[in-house]
Symmetry: D2
Subunit: 349 residues, 4 copies
Amino acid sequence: MASTMKALSKLAPEPGFVLHEVPVPKIGPTEVLIRVEKAGVCGTDAHIYGWDKWAQARIHPPLVIGHEFMGTVAEVGSAVRSVKPGDRVSAEGHIADLTCVLCRTGQAHICEHVKIIGVDRDGAFADYIAMPEYNVWKLDPAIPDEFAAVFDPLGNAVHTVMAAGVSTKSVVITGVGSIGLMAIPVARAAGAASVYAIDVNPAKLELAKRLGADETFDARTPGLVDEIKARTNGDGVEVLLEMSGSGSAIDAGLQMVRNGGTAALLGIPSDDVKINLAERIIFKGLTVLGINGRKMFETWYQTQALVKSGRVDLRPIITHVLPFDQYDRAFELMKNGEAAKIVLDVKGE
Amino acid sequence: MASTMKALSKLAPEPGFVLHEVPVPKIGPTEVLIRVEKAGVCGTDAHIYGWDKWAQARIHPPLVIGHEFMGTVAEVGSAVRSVKPGDRVSAEGHIADLTCVLCRTGQAHICEHVKIIGVDRDGAFADYIAMPEYNVWKLDPAIPDEFAAVFDPLGNAVHTVMAAGVSTKSVVITGVGSIGLMAIPVARAAGAASVYAIDVNPAKLELAKRLGADETFDARTPGLVDEIKARTNGDGVEVLLEMSGSGSAIDAGLQMVRNGGTAALLGIPSDDVKINLAERIIFKGLTVLGINGRKMFETWYQTQALVKSGRVDLRPIITHVLPFDQYDRAFELMKNGEAAKIVLDVKGE
Amino acid sequence: MASTMKALSKLAPEPGFVLHEVPVPKIGPTEVLIRVEKAGVCGTDAHIYGWDKWAQARIHPPLVIGHEFMGTVAEVGSAVRSVKPGDRVSAEGHIADLTCVLCRTGQAHICEHVKIIGVDRDGAFADYIAMPEYNVWKLDPAIPDEFAAVFDPLGNAVHTVMAAGVSTKSVVITGVGSIGLMAIPVARAAGAASVYAIDVNPAKLELAKRLGADETFDARTPGLVDEIKARTNGDGVEVLLEMSGSGSAIDAGLQMVRNGGTAALLGIPSDDVKINLAERIIFKGLTVLGINGRKMFETWYQTQALVKSGRVDLRPIITHVLPFDQYDRAFELMKNGEAAKIVLDVKGE
Amino acid sequence: MASTMKALSKLAPEPGFVLHEVPVPKIGPTEVLIRVEKAGVCGTDAHIYGWDKWAQARIHPPLVIGHEFMGTVAEVGSAVRSVKPGDRVSAEGHIADLTCVLCRTGQAHICEHVKIIGVDRDGAFADYIAMPEYNVWKLDPAIPDEFAAVFDPLGNAVHTVMAAGVSTKSVVITGVGSIGLMAIPVARAAGAASVYAIDVNPAKLELAKRLGADETFDARTPGLVDEIKARTNGDGVEVLLEMSGSGSAIDAGLQMVRNGGTAALLGIPSDDVKINLAERIIFKGLTVLGINGRKMFETWYQTQALVKSGRVDLRPIITHVLPFDQYDRAFELMKNGEAAKIVLDVKGE
């Protein structure tokens, strides 16, 4: 094995990334070295690329970027039992401490000491990545590479849908960026009786329709809350999946949920949100769920089951597969809103 | 039976109540006429008495006030089967429509068309009140009159505690007005491992201690979030019972809850509340529950079980039992913060 | 309105039914008189027709038979508010007392004092039936008559599926009589990732396949438990829906469920069943759910949502629609195993 | 450190144990060597001691016995991070594979490949035991040694109680061996409104009373099902905790549970049990839970919270603390039914 590899990094506190040669990571006894093949590009990566406020506060260069990926096990540590070289794998990018009360009670996805690859430590936009054995997910042969590369955001969608519980229910999704889009076939496959998608981007709403939304709506439609209620016997939907992080979408979404319903919040508002708690949540008897990451590894099993059964097809969402060195174009396509989900072909043919 | 009765009413859009003679209500075939014996005085009654903004918007005089009570069945409608004259009863004061999807699926407590006695229709500060048979709760002989008279607010406390789920858990209660105080023995009896109470009123905190709080804290204590965390291994409590309606208490309370924990909101903020959704709810994977009323009638059965087992003793909370005509004094005591819970002896000896 | 009507009754303690004239039922203030239009024929009806041991012990002639139906409201009692003459309706055939702890806590479907129409009191194989307002279900215009006529057994299937929880899960159904067959599209629509159906009747298994089962198996296949395990990574399925009532199917089904899984039991064994509790349930950490009737009215709303969304199509199951007077043929077809579900056209054109 | 140690072993396929010298175990990089101080004696140990049918089939001598213990960390493997020499610890005795779907989804306690210390591999009746880091539980200083030594069976009781959910509920416990006895204060502390204990041993029933049971009953009392129903308004209890493994107790217990209630089965029947599934489980809409082991590590946290809060006091149950070499007497006391729980003082003073 070569001692150096290509990696896409933030090297200085400024916009842009650099594709350069770095040492191949060394692994410890409980770690796994993975040859990265395909990697998904996330909005978070775009924030780091553009070097916005959030990125300036959180990211400490030099850092290899990227947290959605699949590849093949190249090498395993001496204590690793569950995978072996040659295994086709993806991995959970949230590295939990595995010793706190949350990790010890099945909630490692909200471990307070989590480190995220490509954000807090070196990531997956590289020929190789070292991961703890615990985080490695062995791929079912039935899962195509491109889908496997985006199990991280797909898992966000699955976690949100499954936490809310959609079986036989009516569902509104506010915000159909790539995770919101993924949530549409996931919600349908998980048993939603109806799915309404709301956004401001007509192309995304068009895609939402193709992915199985019963109806789509421009978020700026006057009287939209009443429109949604009119489709649910005047009561409102049973489930809100909030994937925009927009304060106004959250307020409208909460109004669309019927009394006793559930609102699962995945979208991250950049500022405080003013909420009429009395009218939107308390009197309505709502259940509001904060959603973070993916359950380790319920969500991964559920995601696999959904994709393997053929009920979740991501092809309409993966709008581009680009060679590794065309990363600048990837971020441009994302900025322009032309892409839904872009996968980088890190290994190439 | 006399054709008129004494009733305590709001007669004009101005502060104060009037104790006057009104006709005894007539009952329909599915209704029950109840001779009121004892009735609890609620903060809501004080709002109506004082004629604040909320009262001006919601209350339409003339209206008999009062929604917490117990008494004896005086007469039943022709179709009533479950109670008979002479039965000792209390009643659920939220009158649901019983035909909507919520009422038809066990969630009548959040029926959108609910009418509340003493708020939306004539109430219980009177010799007699007419109630739908559905709402009447036959009292177990083991329940003392004064406790039965306040099953409504006690039920709020029980509903909040049981919705959150406290068995073996650590609990913070923010706000120990009368319902917050009731929540302390309820939480302990329901299995909480530890209960911390927070308020700004030293007398209420003292009472909280007597009722079984492990520790009490002035809400203005610097570093209070860290104080609470220090008592829970640095993690934060598993459950927040929010009973203050104060924006700052809500913010502090949410910080005190550990990742993956539950916050049950019963206190009603008078204004919108600014919330850092990302840090307080989403990243933490919190479950936030809006709580309203009492479940019909799970909560009533649970309340009965708790009181009957002797594990919830309300005597320290019921600070005053006053004759019916001393209602002005009751509202004065409440205003001064001298009373926790006041019961009016409507029938007298 | 005529004072007499046609009704299909058990008149004497012997096999067979008689189609005769009886008085139209009178309704009380809280009851609804329904003109029956279409009615489903159930295995229970066949037991009563054949006058087997169970029927001899339970049925007290004279009795009008039938408990699955739809029709139009003909008349309402003075206190009825939620429906009016002309409304198209079905009805829950389990008449609960509405006053016991179960009825008062959202579990009327398991009321200890339930009376079942067509079993404990006069039923729906008649021109008219009187039902309590509480039991009447107003039909959505999108639900076809034939489907509405069998909401009772469809509701059994929905209640079983929803109690077990199938979203993203692998499911085995043991026994594909008419309810087992209905459970297939219901499970798929509710989000099951895979559905395996087991029975001894090749025609029913063929139908199971058409209804969406991934694979079907003859219950007598040697090594069937291992076959099922082989399809679920060696672990076993997450959910068993037991709809046969057969002791050997129950034993095999429990073996097919993976540790920590759920077994929902709807099929009624005619005798005691010997179970290896240690190996089948305790060590496996299984959850076993007894299922009875339909939740009032969660199940009805869920059933409506599933049918209305088009995701549950009963046409392959309703193999025959027969004129009312061909009831003998109906029971013959059922006996021969030639029919899945038969609907009687009570009203005719 | 010495290279040999004392251990209590089954050396040959015959009754009895031998206290002898064996090598101190070697630990791997992810293992922890623990100096055992106190160890609980379990009914399972008595089965192995007596060499009954179950033991003959399951146990492969030579084997060090014992699975309930506490002690101090003597040495840690190179990859161990969460404990260090000198830490006071107990440990989960079920060693799960940590790689199967159950282990990866928070259900390691029902891993199909579990190995139990003292049963499938060397146990804790020895000066030292080697445990995987994952299984080690760091003890809170507030937990007394004797209590810590029996966290395993106490955890069984806690797991059963918490799985059933007892908050505000009425509870019957069938079988008050040591775990059934422990379940009494656990159920009360977890919020049970009432606890009824049933057994055939008067001394155990006397102990049950001291531990907080409201009433105790001899299992052979005629009409016992009705007695229990009479104490619960004729409905039956909400929760059955089955801890006897006796077929007749299971049948009686299921009859005592009210419709819609929960039966948690921990006791292990030695043979198949004949159950009237229709009447006992299906028509009643019961939830039956198979209970095995302890949840890793929710149960341990709950157990700690209960003991630490002072609400669970095991002193009446720990009837004997014996020197290590008096093990024969321990098994004699157990056989005679004179002991509830015996702790061996392995280390001595």
